[in-house]
Symmetry: C2
Subunit: 246 residues, 2 copies
């Protein structure tokens, strides 16, 4: 059995997220496992670096799987691209040590969130941006972004209430850039909780609309609950850009 | 009656080009005329700066129409965007002098042609690039592009054999840029014949694959016919970027 690591791109629009579901359900993991199982004649399980939600895109999702095959990584990649639908692609494949695990070994991730800050439609990016025409104060969002960085308990920034796992994470940087009528948020961190990026975006957008200020955001870590943080920004604007392993 | 000029964006994928067809036919001009006729309660005719072929995109197509309405240009634009499908948008509207005609007054146009020069798919741009994995010599294409510029009789570079109109055009510049695994051709000129940009792209790509050289391209203007010029590059890679009026 060989361990193959792949880098994947997908447009999340048509899918119910990364994670395989039991019976029906159109998922990225499900598509990949069906394909590789067919290729090998044996059941193949695919590990992703993490789940992406329904509608979320990936520019550089990482996954790995153990398979018994004589094919080279490049041949596996070409086989997959020949059979995958046009909104999923393998852009890199390599053989890795047996113990490599795309989720457990991940050291950091980068997410991009794109907001079209205009009431004029943008045809070509319509599947990748969240449209919010309200006036947005970029400086206010930058001040908020600074406060959201660091090592904190981000429990108020997740929709997952049941988990008993640690909700402490380190966010290395949040860049807020305005490019014409688009606002781009780039998040780098060691890992993100369920819905965490989208709730941080919602919180920063509310700061941009002057509905909350830096002091209020500072208080969210200690005393805050999900009710105190911002709205859940829609999946359409979110892209997993990169997963880092060192 | 007021004369309204609009700038349009559209993704050509789903459409049979710009030009209205008699009965059936899903066209951009047809969509716009149906919508404006409904808005005014009277038949409205829309003039485009030129036709785009089936599958060709527009970043800045220009059109104008005469209508009797009390709405401001911005209100007309918002009305249109509310009813247009998600792959067509009006991004600008203004009232212009009665004699303005988007085609007759056009002084120049810019087209972009994008080639994905890779055998690895690119999910996010798949609707806007022509995929050609063959090795492409950028310098050879640049030398060919230089030869194709100037004022010439471009009759060998059009699919239209019947027209008795002049086939002399001026191409101001053809930029050939490589950005990673993408090759971008940008054409600026006073006007382009039917299929002219796509045939020039096909000719330059053949130069890039060393199937023709600069000397051969030089000879195409005087002695050449359509049989001597390059293949018709697919519509998917072509975008009308801009129409200039001064």
């Amino acid at each position: 059995m060989r361990n193959i690591k792949v880098i994947l791109q997908y447009e999340g629009t048509r899918y119910q997220g990364w994670q395989r579901q039991d019976s029906t359900g159109n998922t990225i993991q499900g598509k990949l496992e069906t394909l590789l199982t067919k290729m090998c004649g044996k059941k193949v399980e695919v590990n992703g670096s993490g789940r992406t939600d329904s509608g979320v895109h990936a520019f550089g999702q990482v996954a790995n799987f153990h398979i018994g095959t004589d094919k080279t990584p490049r041949e596996i990649m070409d086989y997959m691209n020949a059979y995958l639908p046009e909104d999923i692609a393998v852009i890199h494949a390599e053989e890795v040590p047996e113990r490599f695990h795309s989720r457990l070994n991940a050291k950091g991730k980068t997410y991009l969130y794109r907001v079209l800050n205009s009431d004029v439609p943008h045809i070509f990016d319509r599947r990748y941006v969240y449209v919010l025409p309200d006036a947005l104060d970029t400086d206010a969002m930058r001040r908020g972004a600074e406060v959201l960085c660091g090592t904190h308990d981000y429990r108020a920034f997740t929709s997952n209430k049941r988990s008993k796992k640690s909700t402490v994470r380190t966010v290395d940087s949040i860049d807020v850039e305005r490019c014409g009528d688009e606002v781009r948020f780039t998040f780098k961190g060691d890992g993100f909780l369920y819905h965490m990026v989208r709730i941080m975006v919602g919180t920063l957008l509310e700061a941009g609309m002057h509905k909350r200020d830096v002091e209020q955001i500072k208080g969210l870590f200690d005393a805050g609950t999900r009710e105190d943080t911002g709205f859940l920004a829609p999946a359409v604007g979110l892209t997993l850009v990169e997963v880092r392993y060192q």
